[in-house]
């Protein structure tokens, strides 16, 4: 998880949770979590989703929750996922 942060602070923790909820909602992956499957919280799938979001919005693809990525995550938006499942 520390590798995701561009900055370390309480804000970052809040950002992390906000980003996690955002990515689960708008960048779900078909068949991602099989019932009973053990997945580390966050981990690679989160970085992969962050990269997917950054690619979708034409941001620099870093896999990190940098300022630009957080700005997009905080924008009001449509509730339909960006990747159709």
């Amino acid at each position: 998880a520390p590798s995701l942060f561009a900055a370390t602070s309480r804000t970052s923790r809040n950002n992390y949770h906000l980003a996690q909820a955002y990515l689960e909602k708008f960048y779900p992956k078909k068949g991602e979590h099989q019932v009973g499957e053990m997945v580390a919280r966050g981990g690679n799938s989160m970085i992969r989703k962050i990269k997917e979001l950054q690619a979708f919005f034409g941001l620099q693809v870093t896999g990190k929750l940098d300022q630009q990525t957080m700005n997009v995550i905080k924008k009001p938006r449509c509730g339909v996922p960006d990747v159709a499942n």
Partner: protein
């Protein structure tokens, strides 16, 4: 643009929609208007029509919901997620929900309902989110001006990939889907640029073209001043289709696409209304020109090669119309861009020419350059 997996689309060309729950932050008439305009944005690009129903099930059920509202996609309170819609299909398919915790408006404050509705109806018709930041189907909110709105190219390509283009209808042969041409430094005396509309307003004659209009005293050809339409008529912005004044009523009417505005002088009188108030058939989507005949108290509306006559006293379209323009107004050639009555003559503007038509002789008595009216 992107489509949903399996490219779901509607298999019929007339869809019903129903607003089953309204929001408290707008009047129901405003919600109806915003929804109608948002659907119009799509129906002007594809051969799909929308019919509003007030009872029972509709293809597209529209409602304002709060939090968890039973479709496994709970809303999250102010900001964040504003609305969502389901891809074409039975049941929930096409249904569109707006988060009632948002402040919905018709303006730039809060969240503009037209903007969000137009985006969600893209989903309801089969479009997924686009990665093109200029597209309406880009996922994040960006205010869109409802009046004179044109679908961005990316969205036109996407929706026409599903439904094909709508065949153009009678009326000004403009391309409704392309943003109005923005001449970088327009030659104001370009005799090949037709006027969009001409009307009296009080003691002045107004000539409209693209984003500009000219004001002139009727009997003076000096001191004619161009200015931007938005400086005096912000709601009209540009590309007025037609205009006329009923001087004894102190009202003027300005037409753009399927809408018209009423003014007293330069003061707008309320929001735009629909041209179907006049009794036009639904296939008429825009007016080319309009002229009020003071003695007859009738207004002639020109659409393509036909014209209608509207009785201003009875407020009713006259029977036996439309009629063919060339048959009734001999000598006036080409599509009519604008018309105005002065001193008992009707002046028709068509491309570079302006025809002076004598209604008693029923003939053209002189032809001059259109641009000579603005001192060129």
């Amino acid at each position: 643009y992107r489509l949903f997996p399996g490219e779901p689309k509607w298999k019929k060309n007339t869809l019903t929609y129903r607003i089953s729950k309204y929001t408290s932050s707008m009047s129901s008439a405003e919600v109806d208007k915003a929804v109608e305009m948002a659907l119009q944005a799509w129906s002007s690009a594809i051969p799909l029509n929308f019919v509003k129903v007030n009872l029972g099930e509709a293809d597209i059920m529209i409602s304002f919901e709060t939090g968890d509202h039973g479709d496994s996609y709970p809303f999250d309170g102010p900001r964040g997620t504003l609305a969502h819609a389901f891809a074409p299909g039975e049941g929930l398919g096409g249904d569109t929900h707006f988060d009632n915790a948002e402040k919905w408006t018709m303006g730039m404050n809060g969240f503009n309902l037209f903007t969000v509705a137009a985006h969600e109806f893209g989903h309801a018709l089969g479009l997924a989110h686009s990665t093109d930041p200029s597209a309406l189907m880009y996922p994040t909110y960006k205010y869109q001006h409802p009046y004179g709105f044109h679908l961005p190219k990316d969205d036109v390509k996407g929706i026409q990939a599903l439904y094909g283009p709508r065949k153009t209808l009678p009326g000004k042969p403009t391309m409704p889907h392309l943003p109005p041409k923005k001449p970088s430094n327009p030659d104001l005396c370009d005799s090949n640029s037709p006027f969009d509309a001409v009307t009296m307003l009080g003691k002045e004659l107004l000539f409209f073209r693209d984003r500009i209009f000219w004001r002139r005293q009727v009997h003076l050809t000096t001191g004619i001043r161009p200015s931007t339409i938005t400086s005096s008529f912000p709601q009209l912005m540009s590309n007025v289709d037609a205009a006329y004044e009923v001087a004894e009523r102190g009202a003027a009417y300005f037409f753009k696409g399927p809408h018209y505005w009423v003014t007293r002088g330069f003061q707008m009188q309320g929001p735009p209304r629909t041209i179907y108030d006049f009794g036009f058939p639904r296939y008429v989507q825009r007016i080319d020109a309009a002229v009020y005949l003071k003695e007859a108290q009738k207004t002639l509306f020109f659409v393509g090669n036909e014209y209608y006559s509207y009785d201003e006293r009875k407020r009713k379209m006259e029977k036996d119309y439309p009629k063919n323009i060339e048959e009734e107004f001999s000598g006036v050639n080409g599509q009519i861009d604008a018309a105005v009555e002065l001193n008992g003559y009707i002046y028709f503007f068509s491309g570079p020419k302006a025809y002076k038509y004598d209604t008693e002789k029923e003939d053209v008595v002189s032809v001059v350059k259109s641009s000579s009216w603005i001192g060129c």
